[in-house]
């Protein structure tokens, strides 16, 4: 194979680009995902330091991350970060918040009820539905175990 010909170059690009892309994406996802979870832990320290109870501190950490992700989405910065971070910003609670806000921003022009009101759930709806459905299934099994078997 002549690596200086056009065909040779195409062959090389084809052979190497997907692999390196996957490696690069994975490294970025790992670093961003890790850093977001790390900042969540540091926020928890901060709220505990402010004498907020453990349970409330955990809720506040979630709300803070959701707010930051929502704000960055509204400013158009989230997708610039997500271009590099990939699943690193998707998997933490920031991804959930981003999906809600981005759909809301897009659907705003289609009306307040069937536009914004309905489409705000485009991605978060499946997450909530299947999460709750799994929870109900677990609840039924746990109830049977707790009150009937035991």
């Amino acid at each position: 194979m002549d690596i200086y010909s056009l065909e040779g170059k195409k062959e090389i690009i084809k052979r190497y680009s997907p692999k390196t892309r996957i490696l690069r994406n994975s490294v970025f996802a790992f670093i961003f995902g890790g850093l977001i979870c790390l900042s969540a832990e540091l926020l928890r320290y901060l709220y505990l330091w402010l004498n907020i109870e453990e349970k409330d501190a955990l809720s506040l950490v979630g709300v803070t991350l959701i707010f930051i992700a929502s704000l960055l989405t509204a400013l158009g910065l989230f997708d610039r970060i997500a271009r590099y971070s990939g699943a690193g910003t998707l998997v933490p609670i920031t991804g959930f918040s981003n999906s809600v806000t981005s759909q809301a921003l897009d659907a705003r022009s289609e009306g307040l009820v069937m536009g914004l009101g309905a489409k705000i759930f485009t991605v978060s709806g499946p997450v909530i539905l299947w999460g709750i459905a799994s929870g109900v299934l677990y609840g039924i099994i746990y109830y049977i175990y707790l009150y009937i078997i035991r």
Binding site: N25, G34, I93, S97, P126, G135, V136
Partner: protein, 123 residues
């Protein structure tokens, strides 16, 4: 004084869970929405088997911040509601436990969408 080993473990687990999702997106046809659903359901499953509590003791925010933590919160809510209120807890537990997060996400999204002009797709 923060515990540095603890912080390192948080980083490691958060990164690892994101890495798995990224590999799934790159190598399979799973869309981001499916990944999120899979993580929430596995969070409920991990909580139900008791594995989540063990993971949380070691990795803290590393498992709680990814959507697995959201699923585990649903599981914990259902369990505690059943222990407190009986069968009605099957229906009331999940959403009560996650109400703060869901409401926050919806309200911030509503607020920002009302005060910015719609543009290109942002996700």
């Amino acid at each position: 004084m923060p515990d540095y080993l603890n912080l390192f473990l948080v980083f490691l687990m958060g990164g690892f869970l994101s890495l798995i999702a990224q590999i799934l997106i790159d190598l399979t046809r799973l869309t981001p929405a499916r990944i999120l659903v899979a993580y929430v359901c596995s969070g409920v499953f991990l909580y139900a088997t008791g594995a989540y509590d063990t993971l949380y003791k070691i990795f803290g925010a590393g498992v709680a911040t990814p959507l697995i933590g959201f699923g585990a919160a649903i599981g914990r809510g259902v369990r505690e509601a059943i222990e407190k209120n009986g069968a009605i807890g099957i229906l009331s537990g999940g959403l009560s436990a996650t109400a703060t997060g869901i409401t926050a996400a919806l309200i911030f999204a509503l607020f920002f969408s009302l005060f910015t002009k719609g543009g290109a797709k942002r996700m």
